[in-house]
């Protein structure tokens, strides 16, 4: 049995389809990444899977329990870190943890043990009695991760857990998450905008756009799935006439985009294209001023599948209740 099973799951808000017949499975113990542009439907999907909003159609089972028919069993099996930081600022770190332990019905003896272990794991033991309002954003996020695990869930949902954190805090959050996962039978489903995080940490990644699943595989296979395997960024001393077209005509070149006299060339064979470029420049009477080659990243995969169009679609007002307090809820 998979940890998460999603079958043709759909959510509509009036005429707007936020999630459109999504189907996928997440295996037990897997770290599953959900990527997509703003407004792609990631948060709506997470909210359906965590019983916060009912699906319009389709089905989803979490740890074998149906989200619609058996929401209480689902809630007992999951831990959730929503996009907004929801720790109580006036309460201490310990009080925040204990109140949620009580809400989850964790027995008193286990409560104390879990509290100590989790706070140690997220390196907040020294701050246990401090009000949350004195913690930094990264510390608050670590607290929320610990809070979400206080009842020993089987599946952990994290909705953009590192958004708004500085790079050091982001790394710390992920290191602690990995440490916590290592000692537990935990499946993680995470949404993020940071491709490097998804690349390094996720076993598999689903790319969602316009509410639909557009790609699903391991990061390695996703990178191999797009036409170009390397990207070259090159600038020249002068630009001969029709230079862009000439570059496009080189062998293995998939695309050429020029911006501010810097050419970004996608190639199926980076080293060979580099040699061809030097030769072509020499023939055309120009010189290569700068040249860098990099392999395909998940950013390229993301752009390939979702395009470069800005997503400024209206969010569903029905869900956007925190507009006064949050930077953006996303659909």
């Amino acid at each position: 049995m998979a940890a998460v099973e999603v079958e043709k799951l759909t959510k509509k808000f009036g005429d707007f389809t936020a999630v459109d017949a999504l189907s996928f499975e997440v295996a037990k113990g897997e770290i599953f990444g959900l990527l997509g542009p703003n407004g792609a439907g990631k948060s709506t999907l997470i909210r359906m899977l965590t019983t916060l909003i009912p699906p319009t159609s389709g089905a989803a089972r979490i740890n074998g329990f149906d989200v619609t028919r058996d929401p209480d069993h689902v809630r007992r099996a999951i831990g959730v870190i929503p996009q907004a930081m929801t720790s109580d600022l006036d309460l201490t770190v310990t009080e925040n943890m204990l109140i949620f332990a009580k809400l989850y019905g964790v027995p008193r003896a286990r409560r104390e043990r879990e509290l100590k272990e989790l706070l140690a794991a997220v390196e907040l033991s020294a701050w246990a009695d401090k009000p949350v309002k004195f913690l930094s954003g990264g510390m608050r996020r670590r607290l929320e991760i610990a809070r979400g695990l206080i009842h020993e869930p089987k599946i952990f949902f994290l909705d953009e857990p590192t958004t708004g954190l500085d790079p050091t805090s982001r790394i710390a959050v992920w290191e602690m998450l990995m440490k916590l996962k290592a000692g537990r039978d935990l499946t993680i489903l995470v949404t993020t905008h940071y491709m490097d995080e998804a690349d390094r940490l996720c076993n598999r990644i689903a790319i969602v756009d316009h509410g639909k699943l557009v790609a699903l595989d391991s990061p390695l296979k996703l990178k191999a799935s797009i036409p170009a395997t390397s990207f070259l960024e090159v600038s020249f001393s002068k630009l001969p006439e029709g230079w862009t077209e000439q570059l496009k005509g080189l062998p293995d070149v998939e695309s050429v985009v020029e911006h501010d006299q810097v050419f970004r060339i996608a190639s199926d064979n980076g080293p060979r294209t580099m040699t061809d470029l030097m030769d072509a420049a020499k023939r055309a009477g120009t010189e290569v001023v700068s040249l860098s080659v990099k392999s395909t990243t998940l950013d390229d995969v993301f752009t390939h599948y979702t395009g470069r169009q800005l997503r400024d679609e209206l969010q569903s007002g029905k869900l956007d209740i925190g507009y006064m307090y949050r930077k953006g809820s996303g659909i």
């Binding site: 909210r47 965590t50 019983t51 916060l52 909003i53 009912p54 209480d72 809630r75 007992r76 999951i78 959730v80 929503p82 996009q83 907004a84 930081m85 929801t86 109580d88 006036d90 309460l91 009080e95 109140i99 949620f100 009580k102 809400l103 989850y104 019905g105 009000p131 869900l319 209740i321 925190g322 507009y323 006064m324 307090y325 949050r326």
Partner: protein, 370 residues
């Protein structure tokens, strides 16, 4: 039950850690009681009455002496002598004095001949309360002036003897029940309205909704914590307010017990009402925009500030449906008359039925999803 208590624990911890919230909930209503109570409650004193005596003979002098006696004792007014009517009227219009008593030139002659002697009181009727006080005092004065110094053997006229069954109730005491109910309402507005919606907007409820807490537990937790804070406010206001207002036997245990029941039922009724009003609201601006008006809509028609007997018909009907009316009524019975349960049974029954209806409606409307 543990989950309900967890929500209660969270709210109470927050409440006791927020001095601002405690000041707003507990101290400000007391300040309001004192300011309102003394602003409206005092006896009118030291009004200035100009006296233009155009007669200046014995009967007129007797009248002036009686006025000076009032100025010296009751101090409702003090007199300022004028020789010129025009000057007195000018000062009246300029607000230097509150009224002018004109004793006409033929006053003594008319008294002696018993041909309808008259004096005139010219008053600044823009201030109705001061005017009423002056009229009342002068009516007594003229009555005393007319009284026969030797009482007849058989009374010819009917007289009214007024017997007050309760000690004198100053306005601050009259106002106290309304201020207690208002403070409970402010607590309900903050706890059951503003904080509830703010928590929702901050995503706190999202955190609760992903736990296995049931709809009943959520509603009970929210209601219980709101009610607990309102009860606390009610107790503090009742005890301190009674002492400040000088309620006789303020700490009588039997009465305090009955007051406690009224505080609990009032708190529950107002929190239930607030919960129903906010159950589908998501926008944090809504409670803030609504509450100023709600105060007026509920407090003033309840008889807290002015007796409902003085209301027009439609407003009396409105007051009948206002939960404040019954809460204020019950507090008045206990604080001003120290009655038993029988006198407040109707008020308590209304508050119980009202709370049940509000909670039932709120529960039906409450969604356990976003």
């Amino acid at each position: 039950m543990n989950r309900i208590l967890a929500l209660l624990e969270r709210d109470m911890r927050k409440f006791f850690r927020s001095p601002t919230l405690m000041i707003v909930s507990l101290v400000l209503p007391l300040v309001q009681l004192v300011i309102f109570g003394y602003a409206f409650g005092g006896k009118i004193k030291n009004l200035k009455v100009g006296v233009v005596d155009q007669d200046d003979r014995l009967p007129a002098i007797k009248l002036r002496e009686m006025m000076q006696a009032i100025a010296a004792n009751a101090k409702t007014f003090e007199t300022v002598q004028y020789s010129d009517m025009g000057k007195a009227l000018k000062d009246l219009r300029n607000g230097r004095i509150n009224g002018v008593l004109n004793i006409p030139p033929n006053f003594s002659r008319d008294v002696a001949s018993q041909t309808n002697p008259k004096v005139a009181l010219i008053e600044d009727n823009t201030d109705e309360i001061a005017t009423s006080a002056l009229e009342g005092e002068f009516a007594s004065l003229v009555g005393a002036y007319n009284a026969n110094p030797v009482a007849p053997r058989v009374a010819a006229k009917v007289t009214l003897s007024v017997v007050e069954i309760y000690p004198y109730v100053p306005y601050i005491q009259f106002l106290l029940p309304g201020v207690i109910v208002l403070s409970i309402f402010v607590s309900a507005m903050i706890g059951g309205g503003i904080i509830y919606i703010d928590d929702k907007a901050r995503g706190m409820h999202e955190g609760y909704l992903v736990t296995p807490i049931s709809k009943f537990e959520l509603i009970s937790g929210f209601t219980l914590s709101g009610t607990a804070k309102a009860i606390l406010t009610g107790i503090v206001l009742t005890v301190l307010g009674s002492l400040i207002a000088g309620v006789p036997d303020a700490l009588d245990p039997g009465r305090l017990l009955r007051l406690m029941l009224v505080i609990v039922l009032t708190s529950f009724a107002l929190i239930s009402m607030m919960f129903l009003m906010m159950v589908r609201v998501n926008d944090p601006l809504v409670p803030r925009a609504t509450f100023g008006v709600l105060n007026t809509l509920l407090w003033f028609p309840s008889g807290a500030v002015y007796p409902t007997a003085g209301f027009p018909k439609w407003m009396k009907a409105y007051a009948q449906a206002d939960p404040f009316t019954y809460a204020v009524g019950a507090f008045k019975s206990l604080l001003l008359k120290n009655t038993g349960f029988v006198a407040i049974t109707g008020d308590l029954a209304f508050l119980i039925i009202f709370s049940a209806l509000m909670m039932l409606s709120a529960t039906l409307l409450f969604r356990r999803t976003l």
